[in-house]
C-alpha cells in the first residue's frame, strides 16, 4: 500500500493488552482471542482511516503516541505478561510459530485479493487487524508495557527492509533473521543493546536496498 504506518507498534501493543484483558477477566485462551483482537483492531483501523489516507507521516506518529499514552493512563506503566500452562514450553513456542506462519499466509492471501490502490482504508484496517493478532502472539511469549508500542515500529520496519519491502515471505525471513540477531546480541552483550542492533540492521537494510529511488513508499 506504500504508506508507512508509524502507529503500527501501538496497534501491536493494544492487541497484547486486549489479549491480556480477555485472559484475566474471562479466561479466554490467548490463541482463541486472536480473532477478537483482529476484529477490534480492524474496527479501530477503519475509524482512523480518513486522516491516515492523507499519508502525512506525522499523523500516524501522533496517533500511535496518543494510543501509547492513553494505554499508560488506562493500564499503568507496569510490565505485564500472560502466564498460561504452555508459556515458555517448547509446545507453546511451536504453536506460536505455526500461528504466526498462518497469519503470514492470511496476509499473503489478502494481499493477492485486494487491489491496494483502490481500497486504501480497507488495507489499513486489515494491517491494523494483523498487528492486533501479532499482539496476541507477542503476549504469549514476551512481557510488554504500553511503551513497547513505540519500539515495535522501528522493529517492524527493520524486519520488512531486511526481507524486502512489499514481499510478505521476505518479511517472514527478515523477522527470523532479526530475531536471531537480537537473541545473539542479548546473549553476548546483555539485553540492553537490542535497540542498537535494531537500528544497525535498519541502516544495513536501507543501504542494501538495490534501487531505493524507485521503490517509493
Amino acid at each position: 500500500m506504500r504508506v508507512l504506518n508509524l502507529a503500527h507498534g501501538a496497534f501491536v501493543m493494544l492487541g497484547a493488552y486486549v489479549t491480556l484483558g480477555l485472559w484475566q477477566r474471562l479466561g479466554v485462551d490467548p490463541f482463541l482471542s486472536i480473532p477478537i483482537c483482529m476484529a477490534a483492531m480492524f474496527g479501530l483501523g477503519w475509524v482512523v482511516q480518513r486522516p491516515v489516507a492523507t499519508s502525512r507521516i506525522l499523523i500516524t506518529f501522533g496517533l500511535g503516541l496518543a494510543l501509547v499514552d492513553l494505554s499508560l493512563n488506562l493500564f499503568g506503566p507496569d510490565v505485564r505478561s500472560i502466564q498460561t500452562a504452555y508459556s515458555g514450553s517448547a509446545q507453546g513456542r511451536a504453536f506460536t510459530f505455526v500461528a504466526a506462519l498462518g497469519l503470514v499466509f492470511l496476509a499473503r492471501l489478502l494481499a493477492a485479493c485486494v487491489r491496494p490502490e483502490r481500497f486504501q482504508g480497507l488495507v489499513f484496517a486489515v494491517c491494523a487487524a494483523t498487528s492486533g493478532a501479532a499482539g496476541s502472539l507477542t503476549a504469549v511469549d514476551f512481557s510488554f508495557t504500553p511503551t513497547s508500542g513505540v519500539f515495535y515500529t522501528p522493529l517492524a520496519v527493520a524486519v520488512c527492509l531486511l526481507g524486502g519491502m512489499g514481499s510478505i515471505p521476505g518479511a517472514f525471513a527478515g523477522g527470523i533473521a532479526l530475531g536471531i540477531a537480537a537473541t545473539l546480541t542479548g546473549a553476548f552483550f546483555g539485553p540492553g543493546w537490542q535497540n542498537t542492533v535494531v537500528f544497525g540492521l535498519l541502516l544495513v537494510g536501507l543501504l542494501l536496498r538495490p534501487k531505493p529511488a524507485e521503490a517509493g513508499v
Binding site: 486522516p51 507521516i57 496518543a66 499508560l72 535494531v198
Partner: protein, 281 residues
Amino acid sequence: MRRGVLGLLSAIVLAGAFVPSASALHALTLLFVFAIMAAAWNLVAGLAGVIDLGLVGFFGLGGYATGLLVAKTGLPFAVAWITGGLLCVGFAILMALALRRFPAPYFAVATLAASFALREVASNWTALTGGDAGLSLPPQLISARAMYFLMVGLLTVVLALTWWIGRHRPELVPAYAAMGWFVGLVGGAFACWTGFLDPAAAFDLGVTVEVIAMAVVGGVGTVGGPLAGAAVLTTLSALLNGYAPNFHLLALALLIALFQWLAPKGLMAAATAASGYYLRK
C-alpha cells in the same frame, strides 16, 4: 515589519536584563530552549521537506558530550560547548548522507531508531556516562542570566537562518547539519544549566514530541511559526502539568495528528489569512 521584529527582539533582551524574579527568567529561558529546537526542526521538515523523529538524539548527544568534556577533562565551558555542537554536526552529516537517498518515511523511522540507540549507549556505557544513575556536573557552570542570553542569541540566529534558507534552495544535508548544530548546542547548554545528566531525561522521546508539536501547531515552513507554537504550547504545557500531568503527552500527540490532518499549515497561516481578511475590509 522589520522594525517590528527589531523592537520585539530588543524588548526580549531588555526583559532578560531587567526581569526581577528568577522564576520568570527561568520560564522565559525554557520557552526559548524549546523555540530554538522547534525552529531547528523546521529547517529540516519545513524547508528541506523531510520529517525527523530523532531530534532528542542530538539534544542528548550534545548534552553528554559537553557535560562529559567539562566533568572529565576540565575544559572550559565554552570550548566543551562548541566541541559538543560540532560532534552533533558530524553525526547529523553522517546520518543525512547515509539516508538521503531514501523516501522520507524511512528517514523518519531511522532517525527515531537512532535516538533510541543513542539512549541505549548512554545507559549501557556505564564507565563513561555513569549509566542510568546519571552524572552530576560541576555546579554553576553557567549562570541563569548567561543561559538566557545564549538562548536569545541562538534563537535569533536560527530564525535568521530560516528566513535566509527559505529564499534559497534548501538541501537536506546542510539543513540536517544545521539542525544538529542548534539542537546539540541547546542540549549542551541545558545540561550545564541544570547540572545533571541522565539517559531518561537527556533522550526523552517527550522532548521530540513537544518540539514537533510546537512547529506543527505554529506552522511548518514559516519563519515565526515555531516561536509562536512554542509560546502557545509552553503555556498549554504549564496548564496541563498543573491540572492533568498524566495527559501531557497524549494532548501533544493528538495536537500533532489533528493539526496535520485538519490544518497542516498551522496557526501562522490562519493568522495571516485572518489579518488579510480584516485588513481588506
